[in-house]
Structure formats: C-alpha cells, structure tokens
C-alpha cells in the first residue's frame, strides 16, 4: 500500500526518534529513517521536517564546516523536543492500538477512541 499519506502524520515523531540519542545532519537522518524501514520517505520531506522542528524549538542546529565539501548542518534534540517525543510516542501507541483493535472488529475502550480523534 501507499504509505506516503500515513507517513505524513508521523514524520515528526520518526525524525525526533532518530535524533534522540545522536545528533545528525539531513542525510544522516534520512538514512536512519530509511534503514529503520521507512524506505518510501522523501528526502525533501525529511529536510523540510527538520527545518520545521527547528523553527518550533524541538531541535537545535549547528553547522560543521568542511574543508573539501559544503558545510553540514547538524540537528540535535532539545528539551522541548524530548517532551514532544514522549507525548507523541504515547499518542501513537494509543492511536495504533485503537486502529489495530478496529481492524480486528473489537470494540475499543472509550478512552482509546478519544485518543484516536
């Protein structure tokens, strides 16, 4: 199935997750996401997301000069980013449970429905 649409909703979460332990520059992050299984993710989407998370204060950035090639721009997670990551991780787990339950024709609990909307 085409996971592009699904991906849009969780790209923030995925990007925050792969820089949680280790800073990375744009292509690093892209590579980590693709290695992690999100093979369909577009590079411009990832780079754009990094810029947006930075603008929102969830990431810091710093430039590492290079003698030969162009400068790399590294991103690291901020306390705001960590909070966001925690919250979104919970939301995702809850949402995922809800959809999985729906798909198995079970009646989900009330609080799970709330999280899904």
């Amino acid at each position: 199935m085409d996971t592009t649409q699904l991906l849009k909703g969780v790209l923030d979460l995925a990007v925050l997750a792969v820089v949680e332990d280790d800073d990375g520059y744009g292509y690093d992050v892209l590579r980590r996401l693709r290695t992690g299984g999100l093979t369909e993710v577009g590079d411009a989407s990832v780079y754009g997301t990094l810029r947006r998370l930075y603008a929102a204060g969830a990431l810091t950035s710093y430039v590492v000069p290079s003698d030969e090639g162009p400068h790399r721009k590294y991103y690291g997670i901020t306390p705001i980013g960590r909070t966001q990551l925690e919250q979104q991780t919970k939301d995702w787990a809850s949402f995922s449970d809800t959809v999985t339950a729906l798909l198995h024709h079970q009646t989900p609990h009330h609080h799970q429905q709330g999280a899904a909307s």
Binding site: G26, G48, R51, Y54, A55, V64, E68, G69, H71, R72
Partner: protein, 365 residues
C-alpha cells in the same frame, strides 16, 4: 553512520539547489537560508552514497514544494509579472535557464560515453570561439558589397581588412568565452548577459544557413535564373500542367475522331488525372466561366472530361451557384468538332466495337 563523507559539491547539485532557491524567492532571506542550509551537503552525500542522480535531482519545482510543505511554509506566492523591478532576481527566465542547464548536466552525467563526449566538447570550446568569430565576420562580408563566394578568410572588399577584422573578432570571441569580456559565459551572470550570449550563439549556428540562401538567390538572379525559375515553377506548383501552364479542360476523342463525353482519365498508377477546380476557369469578367466536374453521387469529379462550364465571376464550380450568382451549366465548346481517325498499333482480331462503347482511360502516366 555518522562518518563524515566530505564530498565535494558536484556542479549538478549546485545547479539544482540554485533551482530550488529560485523557487523560494518569496520567502524571507532567513526562512530561505534556513530551508536550504546544508542541502548541498545532504544531496551530495546522497549521490556519493550511490543514489540515482535522476532520483535525487528530480524536478526542482516539486522538490521546493515538498520542502515547503514539510517545513510548514505556505505555497509559493504567485508573483509572475512582478519581475520588472529586479530587486533580488529577475524572475522566471533565469530559473528556466538554470533548469535547462541543470537538466542538461544531469543528462550528460548519466552515461559514461556522454560524459566523455561532454569532456571532449568542453575541451574544444576554443574551436567554437574561433568558428563563431568567423561566422560573424563572414556574415558581415556577405551582407555588404556584391555577392561573392564564402571564403576561408573574409575579404570585406579591401586588402588586409578581412584578415584583420577576423583576427580582432577571434580575440573578442575568445575573451567572451573565457568570461573576461561582457557578456561572458556561465550561470552566475545577469539574466540579460546570459540571454544575449544564448541569442548570439544560436545566431552563429543559424547564420551559415543564410550564406547558403544568399548564394542560391544570387545565382538565380544571374544567367541561370530562367532555367531555375521554370524548374521551381514546375516542381512547386500543383495541378495538371503542360509546359508550366495550368491545363483547364481536356477533350478526348475516340479512334474515329469523335469527341468522347465523360472520359474518365487516370495515370498508369491509378491516380486520377485531375484538373484543380480553381484552375478550371477561362476568360475574365462577364466572359469568365468555371469548369464543373461530372457527378459521382453528389461529389464532382475533376478527372472526367470534358468538364462542363458555367458563367461565374469568381471562385470555382465547387461553390453554390446561388452564392456566386452563377449562370446555367452547359457543355463546353470543343477545340475541334472532330479529329482524324486513328488505328491501334496493336493487332486486333475481334470485330470493331461501337465507338460509343469505347473504353476511355488508357492514358499513360
């Protein structure tokens, strides 16, 4: 995977990022640089890591749109036509040049042979600089004075002037090629200069064609003109012709020398021997008549002779008679009431057939 690859920026990447940048001109400088910061390094690394060039450096417009969307920035403001005061960048034409350049360089990089060919072409650029100088001077040489053959060294009508002008032109052309003289070459120049160079180079390619044309023109005007004029008339003018004149009607006579009505004529290859409807007219003014084809159903056939005629001041018989105020259709006057009888060269054993059942249409092609 945090190893530093330290890849040098490839020209296609630079061109591509310039392309993308050109599509973010409506953002503030800060927003734009925030969006593009590190992009060259990221793209270079993607390529160095073995990604396909066509996948990485795709459509810059789509790429810019995806960047914007992911970064939560608004779609590009429609500001075409606002390029008159060139504050930052003189608009979309420069973008187009960049795009063509990036596309071309990308194409060249795709195959080893095209890379080689491009290297060779780059190495012999000086030859092109000399050639375009020669084309320019030769064009001036051809355009001025009387007609003369195109020569290796233009003459310009005065001794030594030709070689001297050629030398100066070669020097100027080379300096432009090296980027030392306006308008220079390469992408990082004002739009006007880039356009001028493109136009001048295209002109240098096309102008030699005009040499050929003026050659032909002069030749026609000279002694051989009549022959060529006739040849061209015959070659280019449509319709049924005899010695270059339109044939307007045809009268077929049978072996007894009697006029055949409704003779359907074809070439040996089956093509109907057509008189063009608009050629099939005679006389002028009130005397004018137009030829009318025989009917097959409702369509007029103009390979069936003799064509009937009707008085009509303008146009052809294909038009409505009422619209053209045409007169009645009548049988035309034949040039001869009868012609001498003839005998077939083919020996025939069977008894003679009636003249009216004679089969027409054995005209040669």
């Amino acid at each position: 995977m945090n190893d530093a690859l330290n890849t040098a920026t490839r020209p296609e990447v630079e061109a591509f990022v310039a392309e993308v940048r050109a599509r973010l001109t409506d953002l503030s400088d800060e927003e734009r640089e925030e969006l593009l910061g590190g992009l060259e390094a990221d793209l270079s690394d993607q390529l160095a890591d073995g990604a396909d060039l066509r996948d990485v450096l795709g459509d810059p417009a789509a790429y810019a749109a995806e960047l914007r969307a992911a970064a939560g920035l608004p779609e590009r403001a429609r500001n075409r036509g606002r390029w008159l005061p060139p504050v930052r960048r003189p608009g979309d034409l420069g973008d187009d040049l960049d795009r063509v350049r990036a596309w071309f360089l990308g194409l060249v990089e795709l195959r080893p042979w095209s890379r080689q060919a491009w290297d060779v072409a780059s190495a012999i650029r000086p030859a092109w600089w000399v050639l375009r100088a020669w084309v320019a001077v030769t064009f001036v040489d051809q355009a001025t004075g009387s007609w003369e053959y195109v020569t290796l060294v233009p003459t310009l009508g005065v001794d030594l002037l030709g070689p001297l002008v050629l030398l100066v032109a070669v020097v100027v052309s080379t300096l432009i090629g090296l980027g030392r003289l306006w308008p220079g070459s390469g992408p990082d120049r004002p739009l006007l200069a880039r356009l001028l160079l493109v136009v001048a180079n295209v002109a240098a390619v096309l102008l030699p064609l005009s040499f050929q044309l003026s050659d032909q023109h002069e030749y026609d005007a000279g002694g051989g003109g009549g022959y060529y004029a006739g040849y061209h008339d015959g070659a280019h003018q449509a319709g049924l012709r005899l010695d270059g004149d339109e044939v307007r009607n045809v009268f077929a006579y049978n072996r007894d020398g009697r006029l055949i009505q409704g003779a359907q004529l074809f070439r040996g290859n089956g093509e109907p021997l057509l008189v063009r409807p608009r050629d099939a007219h005679l006389g002028r003014g009130v005397e004018r008549t137009v030829g009318c084809g025989w009917f097959n159903g409702t369509s007029q056939l103009f390979n069936v002779f003799p064509l009937a005629e009707r008085p009509q001041r303008r146009g052809s018989c294909l038009e409505e008679a009422e619209l053209r105020d045409a007169g009645p259709v009548a049988t035309p006057e034949p040039p001869f009431a009868a012609v001498p009888p003839v005998t077939s060269p083919v020996p025939v054993a069977e008894p003679e057939t009636e003249p009216d059942t004679e089969k027409p249409g054995e005209t040669g092609g």
